[in-house]
Amino acid sequence: MTDEMAVTLVEVVSEVMEQQAFMFADVCDGEEPETEAETFLHTRMKFEGPSCGGLSVAAPKGVCVELAANLLGVEPDDDIAEEDSRDALGEFLNVACGQLLTALYGAGPVFKLSIPKVEALDRTGWEALTRDEGRAMLLVDDAPVLLKLSVT
């Protein structure tokens, strides 16, 4: 991922989060925050076209519940928000990937997108992702959200 791609990635993901879920993200360009969360969700998908690669997003479960709640217009403590948190994160990635590919390559090329896969992570899995030097970090309500774009 080039520096230019990283900037576009952060911009597009922030915009989708704001437009789709009314959640505001800040770029984390200073000291990275710790999180006390114990459970996390990680979603990833591939794309194939004039360029091929993958995009992934990981976040504390609480951020995903809030994402689902905002998409559905319910309170975060509503059971449906918890129930839809995995699905909501996958759909968020799907939308972000489509918007990102347009931002990077324009509206001409046709890309084939895979179906987003979502998995739960414990703290060990999360910390492994944070050590990946190729990822970017956003802050959403002071919680870290990890992004990674791989282009082959």
């Binding site: 689902a68 559905l72 759909e91 939308v95 001409g108 090329p109």
Partner: protein, 129 residues
């Protein structure tokens, strides 16, 4: 006149969002059907009278393009208006979908107003006809 609308999307969150939008928009609904992919969508279409289909593209088992192609090949189903609601941003792909007969396209992330407007435009047009 109340309408039967089919929402096809593998994301239950999106199906819930669209369902809520249609309900809040005041569009007269008789039945709102849901399907998780194109194959399920075709099964619903085969068993029920549907006035409008709102469908995603990128779905497992059978994607939205294949479902639309099956509908185009069917004498009855090809008259059912289809609106694609997708993250697809390729003008080439969207033009291909228009050639296959889709009546509208809403890009994700969508606003409730965008869904409401396209549904009202198509179903209102049916009333006029």
């Amino acid at each position: 006149m109340a309408y039967n609308i089919l929402v096809v999307d593998d994301s239950k969150t999106v199906r819930r969002m669209i369902t809520k939008t249609l309900g809040m928009a005041g569009i007269p609904l008789n039945e709102l059907y849901q399907a998780e992919n194109g194959r399920e969508g075709l099964e619903v279409l085969a068993a029920n009278w549907i006035d409008l289909v709102l469908t995603d593209i990128n779905m497992p088992e059978m994607d939205g393009v294949e479902m639309i192609e099956h509908m185009s090949d069917d004498g009855m189903l090809k008259t059912v208006p289809v609106v694609v609601v997708s993250t697809e941003g390729s003008e080439t792909r969207i033009e291909e979908l228009k050639q296959k007969g889709i009546r509208g396209y809403v890009r994700k992330p969508f606003t409730p107003e965008a869904i409401k407007d396209v549904v009202e435009e198509i179903l209102g047009g049916q009333d006029d006809g």
